[in-house]
Amino acid sequence: MATTAATSKVNHIGLPILDYRGGKSTLCAGCGHNAISERIIDALFEMGVEPERVMKMSGIGCSSKSPAYFLSRAHAFNGVHGRMPAIATGAVLANHTMTTIGVSGDGDTASIGMGQFVHLMRRNLPMIYIIEDNGVYGLTKGQFSATADLGAKLKTGVVNDLPAIDICALAIQLGATFVGRSFSGDKKQLLTMLKAAIAHKGTVMLDVISPCVTFNDHEGSTKSYKFMQENDEPINDVGFVASFDEIEVDYDSGEVYEVEMHDGSNLRLRKLLEDYDPTDKANAVRTLMEAQENDEILTGVFYINTGMDTFIDLLNVVDEPLGTLPESLTRPPQSALDTLMTALK
């Protein structure tokens, strides 16, 4: 693990992992979100992303606080509830040369933020959108969210009688080009998926089940550590070889999907589910819907498409960030105004 040798090791751009750390977490001890922050640190460190070249975006809620706990040297924007997608969109429009990571929660995304989430996915904006999904509202003391499973029980005995929104199936239908689910307690899978996410060009949507130790980690919860450890069914083993790493072959190629990422990295998905093709959109949605009917929690990379234009491609903007273009490029000359005035006379 990269985290164990923190002080001595440097990554391939010469930075120690300390340069990727954030402030001390104020979340509850044992919160799944803290484990996710750790994996984000590891992934950025291992991928050698310059901390200053990262934008950390979030909305409101426990999950949205977590950007404060990783990568202090990155530029951060903790916005308003459910509206991170719009802020992130604006920020990426102004500077599309950055690595952009959004952290949201199930309430912030699937309830108050659903409208913006839908359109973010649809635009294939180049960014990583992580949902730290615990099925409850923590900061307001444990109400169900829209991703809580049908029949899930709160500590108080309240039972959720509405069906869960499957945010992964939704994201795939909407146009996200990299969609996966993981579990905050599965270090290896989550880290690998995050590294592949960094290499992807387009919208990455990762739904990370993250048990709430205070309000939703008890018997009857379907988003508890115990439930996830017993019911997590990976559809593929996720392997990833960064473009700067030596390629080691540890997969049986007959069962492996290899996806070449835009930066030359390699995403390798070893099938655990028979006939699972992560590039088949309809099959991905069907698999997720069937799992929901069977009360199964699938994890892995459900869908990937490296051939779609991003929103930035479609807008055909200049290579330099729009936010820092010089006046000579943004203010038309006097002659342009003169021509306009003549036409109006």
Binding site: R73, A76, G79, R83, P85, A91, L315, T330, L344
Partner: protein, 613 residues
């Protein structure tokens, strides 16, 4: 054929010779919306402009795609008055539904031009009636049935031009400009104009008193609507990110911006130096503006009342986290959905305090199309200088109608990008505190995402923070930031555009107004002088927070009339919050809020009433 002879009407002099009324009347073109009368109205208006006569056009249209009554008022005014005239002397009646009401609204001695089957001559014996067989004429010149509806409107242009003695060559050149590269379209439309002209010449005997005569008062001037002017302002302010959601009457701000960006802001390699995004709603639009502004873009959105209400939450974030952004509001008639195609100035208070908590937003208030251009640019500079969302508040009258103006001037100063630290600065300083008042101007220095320096980043948040942008719930730290924000707003009195002293003589009476009310008020002041022999001073407000000059103006007059187009005296209310207690009692209000642009008569009558004249 005109069958009646109202020449015995009240305009006849003792000798029987009619008084000739030249370049000083209003034409009401009553049509059905969706019938394509816009081009014809525009050509008629521009033809009068082409005759050198000051002219204004006001489109009073319904919130509907097709089939409802719509009126286009064209006012020729040798004195250069551009407000709506309460009474139009000439009616072009093309809408059977509204024709009876329209003809009844004419003054005695007025003129009615109408489809002959409407038989309006039965309704009024005291107006000059000119029936025209539009249907027959169009059938003879336009074989294609589909196009008849559009070309039919050009016939009235020809009839009106002939009756008012507008030079046919002027009409032709206006049409040529309108359909610049479409010879066939021009031919068809000019065919309509000529058919009307020739019909009038052969069949109508001019007996009314209204004439357009050549003047030279429009030379060198331009015609443009306020929304296009705002769009142009944004482009010459170097806007880079535009996010918006369609809404009447602001949509054309973005259309104009977008068209110009495509023309003027594409590199030789074919890449755009801008991004225009149609967002999913106004919440997202302002969110994108703030995200972009945070990351260094000159970002803007444009909307109207309902959209502005949706922007409230984000606006407070922009204020508290200190992020630049420009919000152009083209006001329409509220509350709620209200009258989407009618005008008002009722979003002033809402914009001033948009969002919860102690939020205050600077507002720029253009009073002309030229100021739409200039103040939109000023808004971008101010937003980055003050690091806050800045509103530009116009209205439907200013925004969607065509106005005559002096040509716009190229900006004299370079863009003001505000207080931005460079990597070298950070190296020298060894770090920075985002919200610290280091210069005494209450404005902190900021960095932009992407700056390659370990000390460049800071944590932007809408939650409580100290001057180093760290989360805090400490009472002193929280309050220190709030107090600095208040000081920053106070200091902005000197940063915003100064008010315009239209007139400041020795009168005890002063007028205050903002925005499109200006045109009716300047005309009203002349009426007040002519009718009551009274001089009154006038200061036009162009921004909130209020400059000291506004306080001085109030202090130097005994009575202040605040003229505005809303029910609740919003400008007066804002002034009352700002003025010393002793000054507040001087304020009186003249309020117009029925959805139509205020006219001079209304102000004059209200003033006379309140003054007991």
């Amino acid at each position: 054929m005109a069958t009646l002879d109202p020449s015995l009407g009240n305009r006849q002099g003792a000798s029987g010779a009619r008084e000739r009324i030249t370049n000083d009347f209003s034409i009401n073109v009553a049509t059905v919306n969706g019938s394509g009368s816009q081009s014809a109205n525009s050509v008629l208006m521009k033809s009068i402009f082409g005759m050198g006569v000051p002219v204004s056009g006001k489109n009073l249209f319904p919130s509907n795609i097709a089939g409802q009554p719509t009126w286009f008022l064209i006012r020729a005014s040798k004195d250069g008055y551009f407000a709506r005239k309460r009474i139009s002397e000439i009616l072009v009646a093309l809408n059977p539904e509204s024709a009876m009401d329209d003809v009844r609204a004419l003054p005695a001695g007025g003129v009615a031009i109408y489809e002959e089957s409407l038989n309006l001559d039965q309704a009024r014996a005291d107006v000059f009636c000119y029936p025209v067989p539009f249907e027959k004429l169009i059938a003879s010149i336009c074989p294609e049935v589909k196009l008849r509806k559009l070309v039919k409107n050009m016939i009235y242009v020809g009839v009106v031009a002939q009756l008012l003695a507008i030079d046919l060559g002027v009409v032709e050149s206006c049409l040529l400009r309108q359909f610049a590269k479409k010879q066939k379209v021009f031919d068809l439309n000019f065919g309509g104009v000529k058919a009307g002209w020739e019909y009038a010449q052969a069949n109508l005997t001019k007996r009314d008193s209204f004439f357009i005569e050549r003047m030279n008062k429009t030379e060198g001037k331009i015609i443009i609507d306020g929304n296009a002017a705002c769009g142009m302002g944004a482009v010459f302010a170097g806007v880079t990110v535009v996010a918006w959601y369609p809404i009447t009457p602001s949509t054309t701000v973005i259309e104009a911006t977008s068209d110009l960006l495509k023309k003027l802001r594409v590199t030789p390699e074919g890449k755009a130096t801008f991004a225009v995004v149609q967002a999913e709603d106004e919440l997202a639009a302002i969110g994108m503006v703030l995200g972009a502004g945070w990351a260094g873009a000159r970002a803007m959105t444009s909307t109207s009342g309902p959209g502005m209400s949706l922007m409230a939450e984000f606006c407070g974030l922009g204020y508290y986290a200190e992020i630049p952004g420009v919000i152009i509001i083209v006001q329409r008639t509220g509350p709620s959905t209200g009258l989407p195609t009618r005008t008002q100035q009722a979003d002033l208070l809402s914009a001033a305090f948009l969002s919860h908590g102690d939020t205050k937003n600077p507002i720029l208030l253009p009073g002309s199309v030229k100021e739409c251009f200039e103040l939109t640019q000023a808004a971008f500079d101010l937003a980055e200088r003050m690091q806050t969302p800045v509103f530009v508040l116009t209205d439907l009258d200013l925004g969607m109608n065509n106005w005559i103006s002096e040509p716009f001037d190229y900006p004299a100063k370079p863009l003001d990008r505000g207080k931005l630290l460079t990597v070298e600065d950070l190296e020298r300083l060894g770090g920075f505190a985002r919200y610290r008042n280091v210069d005494g101007d209450a404005i902190g220095w900021r960095t932009l995402p992407g700056m390659r320096h370990p000390k460049a980043s800071y944590f932007t948040r809408g939650s409580g923070h100290n001057d180093a942008a760290q989360y805090t719930e400490n009472p002193e730290e929280y309050q220190a930031v709030m107090d600095r924000l208040a000081l920053k707003f106070e200091k902005a009195r000197n940063l915003v555009p100064a008010p315009v002293v239209v007139k400041d003589g020795s009168s005890k009476i002063g007028f205050l107004a903002f925005g499109s009310t200006d045109c009716a008020l300047t005309e009203s002041l002349d009426q007040i002088k002519q009718r009551y022999g009274k001089d009154a001073d006038y200061l036009r407000i162009r921004a909130w927070p209020f400059a000291q000059a506004i306080h001085d103006f109030v202090a130097s007059h005994e009575r202040i009339y605040v003229v505005e187009q809303n029910r609740d005296a919003q400008l007066a209310s804002l002034l009352k919050l700002d003025l010393p207690a002793a000054q507040v009692t001087k304020l009186r209000s003249i309020l117009h809020y029925n959805g139509w642009p205020v006219d001079a008569e209304f102000i004059t009558e209200e003033f006379a009433l309140q003054e007991g004249l």
